[in-house]
């Protein structure tokens, strides 16, 4: 008989809040966290809005050997601290216990705060004079003699976050991975696999991403992926609306504690919900565009239903990937229609990204938390900024206002650049 997997801990650091109940309250009220970028002056770049974490995320600067000052480390460990506290779990030194605990963390690109190398480029090449033909060997020589420059390069690598979380939980199984925008849900999949295969009893899983930087913002704008609606930040993310023009970059981290059901019951843990099923599929199509018929997206949804032994009509709510890009939202709508058939027309489907933007590697777990909160509270959060209907997007997107509705089964969709698709089915506490 298959081992059942339940959620016993939730923790977030999101642009709205670092408290899951406060996050859900703000989402239920349709409050946007999208603002003009504050971490640097974005006036010279095409996309000037993002959803940043603008409050202080307190925490220690070090944990064992790990430096927690880099932003991604700070966010990941803070979200983990909250998740573990809600799960009532503490680190264990018992090797037998540690062998049954694991961490799966999805991470974005490294720091990409390349300006930290500025002092070395200045020493290597002198004052910037507009000449972009600069010899690289001079930089290499200077950098190799400069420990600080090498340390800055080290920050690019995000291999320390998951081990730091492993230290926090007392876990011997630790993995770091990335499947772009599907990463957070993929982390859930990997954790569920470890629990079902009886390799672990407790898994801490989720994602972290800190992409609002001087290079990544204009870089992704070049891909025509980001909004150019700079005049109305709160209105810029408009998934499924005819006037949508790209997604909003966001930063944050979200972690779940997943646990085998009987293990959770035996220790008297509070159970927030259950992972009923997961489906994964890959487009194998293009790096930037989803397959236009939504084939891979639909396959992920179908596989999650099959995994949970549920019928499409059993699903009460879909938390859409809903990025606010032309291609994604149209393809996702087609896929939902293909999978859910007649049920699609009456199936509420909303996009949390309309309010907190695209948390990329942390999106899947954050949106899974939103689903769990919808199930627990009987409230479906809205898709805000629904003003101009798009004929290609003609489902019930819960426009602009939250809806009170009992939710027994919710589906969370995550679809990534590169064609990686994951759907997670969540239910209430058994």
């Amino acid at each position: 008989m298959r081992r059942r997997v339940v959620v016993t801990g939730m923790g977030t650091v999101t642009p709205h809040s670092d408290d899951v109940d406060e996050l859900f309250r703000q989402l239920s009220e349709g409050i946007s966290a999208v603002r003009r970028i504050q971490s640097f002056d974005p006036s010279a770049i095409a996309c000037q809005v993002a959803a940043e974490v603008i409050y202080d995320v307190a925490g220690p600067d070090r944990l064992g050997p790990y430096d927690l000052r880099p932003r991604a480390m700070r966010f990941a460990t803070a979200a983990a601290e909250r998740a573990l506290a809600s799960a009532g779990l503490e680190a264990s030194d018992d090797e037998d216990v540690r062998d049954r605990r694991g961490v799966h963390l999805s991470v974005g690109v490294g720091s990409t705060a390349i300006e930290a190398l500025g002092p070395v480029t200045l020493r290597s090449w002198g004052a910037p004079d507009g000449d972009t033909k600069r010899p690289l060997p001079e930089f290499r020589t200077a950098a190799s003699e400069d420990p600080e420059a090498c340390r800055v390069l080290d920050d690019w690598f995000v291999d320390n976050a998951a081990p730091a979380l492993g230290l926090m939980l007392g876990a011997n199984r630790v993995a770091t991975a990335a499947s772009a925008c599907a990463s957070g849900s993929h982390a859930i999949l990997d954790a569920v696999a470890a629990l079902r295969l009886n390799r672990a009893d407790v898994m801490l899983c989720g994602g972290v991403c800190t992409p609002v930087t001087r290079s990544m913002m204009p870089g992704f704008a070049m891909l025509s992926a980001l909004t150019s609606n700079n005049d109305d930040p709160a209105g810029a993310s408009r998934p499924f609306d005819a006037d949508r023009d790209g997604f909003i970059m966001a930063e944050g981290a979200s972690l779940l504690v997943l646990e085998e059901l009987e293990h959770a019951r035996a220790r008297g843990a509070q159970i927030f919900g259950e992972i009923l099923g997961i489906g994964i599929a890959t487009d194998s199509y293009r790096l930037t565009d989803p397959e236009p018929t939504g084939r891979g997206m639909g396959e992920a949804m179908r596989r999650s239903l099959a995994d949970a032994s549920l019928a499409p009509s059993d699903v009460d709510y879909v938390n859409a990937h809903g990025t606010s890009t032309k291609l994604n939202d149209a393809a996702e709508t087609k896929a939902v229609k293909a999978v859910f058939g007649a049920h699609a027309a009456s199936l509420p489907m909303s996009s949390s990204k309309s309010m907190f933007g695209h948390l990329i590697h942390a999106a899947g777990t954050t949106e899974a938390i939103v689903c769990l909160q919808s199930i627990r509270n009987g409230v479906i959060t809205p898709t805000i900024n629904q003003q101009t209907p798009d004929p290609e997007c003609d489902l019930d997107y819960v426009p602009n206002t939250a809806r009170e509705l009992p939710v027994k089964v919710a589906m969370s969709n995550s679809f990534g650049f590169g064609g990686q698709n994951v759907s997670v089915l969540l239910g209430g506490a058994p």
Partner: protein
């Protein structure tokens, strides 16, 4: 639970492809050479085992024609090169021609280090963004008004290719894989980790077949400089031919190398249905976090590695004596090699001399390619019946106990192999394979 078998492997290394890698290793040679050319000029430690694999070669491999190398980092390029060779060896010459039912059951799990760019453009942007006025006073201060102008010469792909999932995204297109796909990230242990997770997915029935493995462009400037900052690189000025010294008492650090290594891993039923030859069965995989005493630094002791080795042997139902080949991490970095050697000596005792192999002396330390390349070597030993020499190891570390290194290859009937990876961030893992 279905048996899971390897039906093909391929590699791209500083020595050439997997066949050239094996030939050089059996001959006791090394691909470590002085750095030359614009990609490596001025880069510490001044030598390494860089890959000469080309775009043209990639296009000649299965699935390679539709790929766009210009949109790849070196991590991805090495990964898809190895995947192409594995597809060919596994009899998947035209994956795009497979029908949907087959593609839907094919997954891709790869391991690599954080995707890192060639620094050229990014450094120019950094420099350009500096305020000229502040620079006159010797200070670097970002002038945000210069960002957009500094982006001249970039394309969106310069940033897209940094997404950490790109090795898998490209390989999924190359292999026409529509099942699970994920990229595992970290240091030298991620390649085996990807294989272990593919094994899990096959056991759960999420797919019938995987393309899996890992890659690492160890000679990339960002990696070399970061290792330099960690004081983990081998000393400059050494004779490149003898600089890579795994488990040697005189080792001075990591010698960078480039590599990708990949496999076709599938259920026995899948292999049988398509008439593929099963090379070996994957019988056990496990991993441990051994928290280092400093960030990416020394491991505290050998106990975590020893515990891992015993766990994998237990999963496989093997005794230490029944193992014919042990492919070790042997990075050449004493702070990793010492605890690894202690653990190996504790588990395998005096029999270690007749089963230990390490490929670091041949192709350097290849990051995410390291563990998978060890597995390639193990499968090759099963095929050719040779235990390769211990290239670069002359004076064994005392931690290895009574170990006596082989100077030349020797004949051996290799049926059972254990492959181990030890990573500076503290992740260690091992898998066990058995010849069929």
């Amino acid at each position: 639970m279905s048996a899971v078998v390897f039906t093909g492997y391929g590699a791209v290394t500083g020595a050439g492809d997997d066949a050239a890698f094996r030939a050089l290793w059996l001959a006791g040679g090394t691909a470590v050479r002085p750095f030359e050319g614009k990609n490596h000029e001025g880069l510490p430690p001044g030598y390494g085992a860089a890959v000469a694999f080309t775009h043209k070669e990639l296009r000649g491999l299965p699935g390679g024609r539709g790929l766009r190398p210009g949109t790849m980092t070196d991590h991805t390029f090495l990964a898809v090169g190895a995947v192409g060779r594995a597809l060919a060896a596994g009899g998947l010459d035209d994956p795009a021609g497979d029908d949907d039912a087959v593609a839907d059951r094919r997954g891709v799990y790869l391991g690599t280090y954080t995707n890192f760019p060639g620094l050229k453009k990014h450094l120019k942007l950094t420099h350009f963004m500096g305020s000229p006025e502040a620079a006159e006073a010797g200070n670097y201060v970002v002038d945000d008004s210069r960002i957009n102008a500094g982006m001249k010469g970039f394309s969106g792909f310069d940033f897209l290719k940094l997404m950490n999932n790109m090795p898998t995204a490209h390989a999924a297109i190359q292999a026409n894989a529509r099942g699970p796909a994920n990229t595992f990230l970290g240091h030298s242990s991620v390649g085996l980790q990807a294989i272990g997770r593919a094994w899990d997915s096959l056991q759960l029935g999420l797919a019938s077949q995987f393309v899996t493995g890992g890659s690492g462009p160890g000679t990339l400037e960002g990696l070399c400089l970061a290792h330099r900052g960690r004081r983990q690189l081998a000393s400059p000025g050494l004779d490149p031919a003898s600089a890579a010294r795994p488990f040697d008492a005189s080792a001075t650090g990591l010698v960078p190398g480039d590599a990708g290594a990949a496999f076709v891993l599938e259920t026995a039923e899948s292999a049988q249905e398509r008439g593929a030859t099963a090379l070996a069965r994957l019988v056990a995989y496990d991993e441990r976090l051994v928290v280092p005493t400093a960030e990416r630094g020394p491991l505290p002791d050998s106990s975590g590695i020893e515990r891992l080795l015993r766990a994998v042997l237990g999963q496989a139902g093997w005794t230490a004596d029944s193992v014919d080949l042990v492919s070790a991490g042997g990075s050449g970095l004493a702070e990793l090699d010492e605890p690894e050697a202690e653990a190996l000596a504790a588990v395998f005792g005096s029999s270690l001399s007749s089963k230990l192999v390490v490929h670091t002396g041949v192709v350097g330390f290849t990051e995410g390619g390291h563990g998978p390349l060890g597995l390639v070597g193990a499968l090759q030993a099963m095929e050719d019946g040779q235990l390769a020499p211990m290239v670069g190891l002359q004076t064994p570390s005392a931690a290895l106990g009574s170990f006596r290194p082989r100077a030349t290859s020797v004949e051996a009937d290799v049926r059972r192999a254990l492959v181990l990876s030890v990573s500076p961030e503290g992740t260690v893992n091992a898998l066990a394979v058995e010849r069929l």
